[in-house]
């Protein structure tokens, strides 16, 4: 038990001291996972919206595939992205292996299905008549679609949280394609593994606390947005 208490104290000291080793890794984690989620949003929201609203043969299968994407094991994604980016792989020419770009790619593959699946459910929960009513008031197809997404925005926030949560805490994929190179591709999760193996529990716990804090902050932010009152603009009564 002493080991644990000592390690916790040391972890707090490390965090408060502003150790550059620590902060560089945190920054890299945020950069990689943030980039992956951003790309996931850019592809997952259009894909989820399309699957949620369009009706075409084979849609059921496409939805099932997206939902399967929720259960993708990070290690397997890491493996496939590794093969793609390896020197003999089809994308080997990019020279991305063991760079943050490779890590973003792998985490993007993990995040996109989360975003798409939640978007799909979110747009499906808004009654289609709402878009029809928007059209009936003179809105273009785009304006009506944007309104539809705006109505689903609370659920879409959940997509951001789910996507971010799925990738910030995964270790398998970033380990395989990033290689845990110090100062380059070491992120919080891979650092925890390494420090634990080295027996430097205090550092590992410090990283663990930070990971928890990031996950908490992200979800707290989203909860706040979801619980906020309907936005009030400048009143028209003047």
């Amino acid at each position: 038990m002493d080991v644990f208490v000592d390690a916790l104290g040391e972890a707090l000291r490390l965090l408060l001291s502003g150790d550059p080793y620590l902060w560089r890794i945190i920054a890299r984690s945020l950069q990689v996972s943030g980039g992956a989620v951003l790309l996931g949003l850019l592809t997952g929201i259009p894909l989820g919206t399309w699957l949620g609203l369009a009706r075409f043969p084979g849609r059921g299968l496409a939805v099932a595939l997206v939902n399967t994407g929720l259960a993708l094991p990070p290690v397997v994604v890491g493996l496939f992205v590794y093969i793609l980016l390896s020197r003999q792989g089809p994308l080997g020419g990019l020279g991305w292996l063991y760079t943050p770009s490779a890590m973003i790619s792998a985490q993007f593959v993990l995040a996109a299905p989360y975003v798409a699946a939640i978007t799909l459910a979110a747009v499906g929960s808004v009654p289609p008549e709402l878009r029809l009513q928007a059209r009936a008031l003179g809105a273009s197809r785009w304006q009506a679609l944007l309104l539809h997404l705006r109505e689903a925005r609370l659920a879409l926030m959940a997509a951001v949280a789910a996507g971010f949560g799925a990738v910030i805490s995964e270790v398998g994929a970033v380990m395989m394609v990033g290689g845990n190179v110090q100062g380059e591709t070491r992120v919080i999760t891979t650092a925890i593994m390494l420090e634990t193996r080295r027996g430097r529990f205090a550092t590992a716990i410090a990283f663990g606390l930070i990971l928890l804090a990031i996950a908490f902050a992200a979800n707290a932010f989203i909860t706040r947005v979801q619980q906020a009152q309907p936005r009030r603009r400048r009143p028209l009564t003047s």
Binding site: A136, L137, A139, R231, R232, P235, L236
Partner: protein, 363 residues
């Protein structure tokens, strides 16, 4: 009443089917400037689908839509601006009442000052000006319905479609909204297309009616035309007519025609057509006049000595069933007349129907 004018919208040979079931199949519908057109029919008749086709919110499987003589599609920007529809349920989006009403004005890229003026005016017109900054999730059902209406009125449309505007409201709210609608239809959009399953609402508000049954138009005409000469049994019963026994048209003296009912009664009938046909006979309970027994004859050619067999209050009116020697008649009187005539169950009474009050349909 306003006079119908220029032809704005014309649907031709419009057909629409869902899962191979034909929902709408109409040869032609026209909407003219300055008229209130009611699409009247029972639930499931295809009224709302026809409205969506006419408002270009949905494409027909076949047929075409003409706006000012020009064939148009769903994305025609001119028609999108001209035709505005209020769907059956008030689909309001998150935000305030003002933001909702502003939606269509923004889509039309109106300057902010004009948007604000129009929002105020539209909300004032439907009597909810005080709700300007209220979040929509605090509104009652009736308020939401009015905001949905204001959202459309603010756009000053050329053609306004209203799909069952009073459907979800309770009786009081319904009466209020009807009164407001009556004002609105005569003061706002040049053309209004009112979708309703309620003949009373249609007769009260419309200049012209299109009666729909099973996706097809069964009659088009003014309220008076449809009331006085329903084209089919469906139109007659849907607009409140009662049916009697069937009978046969027979030649009577001086070239007049009587209906010989299967019960043996003879009814004098004006304009019922040639003798020899078997017919179903309809009349409106409102056309049955009641008088005390022994009262002098009137111009009504059909006179029955009857007894009151049933009394059923309907608001300020009372609906009566009268029995006369095997013939059943429905009549409607005010509570006042009921008292004046001293009518109770079993009271004798004279029922009179004019010869022109019968509608006959081939059996």
């Amino acid at each position: 009443m306003r006079r119908a004018g220029e032809l704005l919208l014309r649907g031709e040979e419009l057909r629409r089917a869902y899962d191979s079931q034909v929902v709408v199949d109409v040869e032609a519908v026209e909407v003219r400037a300055g008229e209130v057109l009611a699409l009247l029919g029972p639930n499931g008749a295809g009224k709302s689908t026809l409205m969506r086709l006419l408002a270009a919110l949905e494409s027909p499987d076949s047929g075409r839509l003409l706006y000012r003589g020009r064939a148009v599609s769903r994305d025609d920007p001119e028609l999108r601006r001209a035709a505005v529809a209020v769907l059956q349920r008030p689909y309001l989006w998150r935000g305030t009442v003002a933001q909702n009403v502003e939606f269509g004005l923004k889509a039309r890229r109106l300057p902010s000052a004009e948007r604000r003026a129009r929002i105020r005016e539209a909300l004032g017109t439907v009597g909810v000006g005080h709700l300007l900054d209220a979040p929509v999730d605090t509104l009652s059902g009736g308020e939401a319905q009015r905001v949905a209406l204001a959202r459309a009125l603010a756009l000053e449309p050329e053609i306004l479609f209203l799909d069952e505007p009073t459907a979800d409201l309770d009786v009081t709210l319904r009466r209020q909204l009807l009164a407001d609608l009556e004002w609105i239809v005569h003061h706002s959009a040049p053309a209004i297309v009112l979708i309703t399953h309620d003949p009373g609402e249609a007769f009260a508000l419309a200049d012209r009616l299109v009666v729909i049954e099973g996706g097809r138009i069964v009659q088009t005409g003014t309220p008076a035309e449809i009331f006085e000469a329903p084209a089919t049994e469906f139109v007659a019963s849907f607009t409140g007519a009662e049916f009697m026994l069937s009978g046969r048209l027979e030649e009577a003296e001086e070239g007049t025609v009587v209906i010989r009912l299967d019960s043996g009664h003879a009814l004098e009938c004006a304009g019922c057509g040639e003798a020899g046909r078997r017919v179903r006979v309809a009349y409106r309970p409102e056309d049955v006049a009641l008088a005390p027994p022994g009262s002098p004859a009137t111009s009504a050619r059909n006179r029955f000595d009857a007894k009151v067999a049933r009394l059923r209050p309907q608001g300020g009116l009372v609906r009566l069933r009268l029995e006369s020697d095997g013939l059943s008649l429905e009549a409607v009187v005010t509570r006042h007349s009921l008292e004046d005539l001293g009518l109770e169950l079993g009271t004798p009474v004279v029922a009179q129907i004019k010869a022109a009050a019968f509608h006959v349909f081939p059996e």
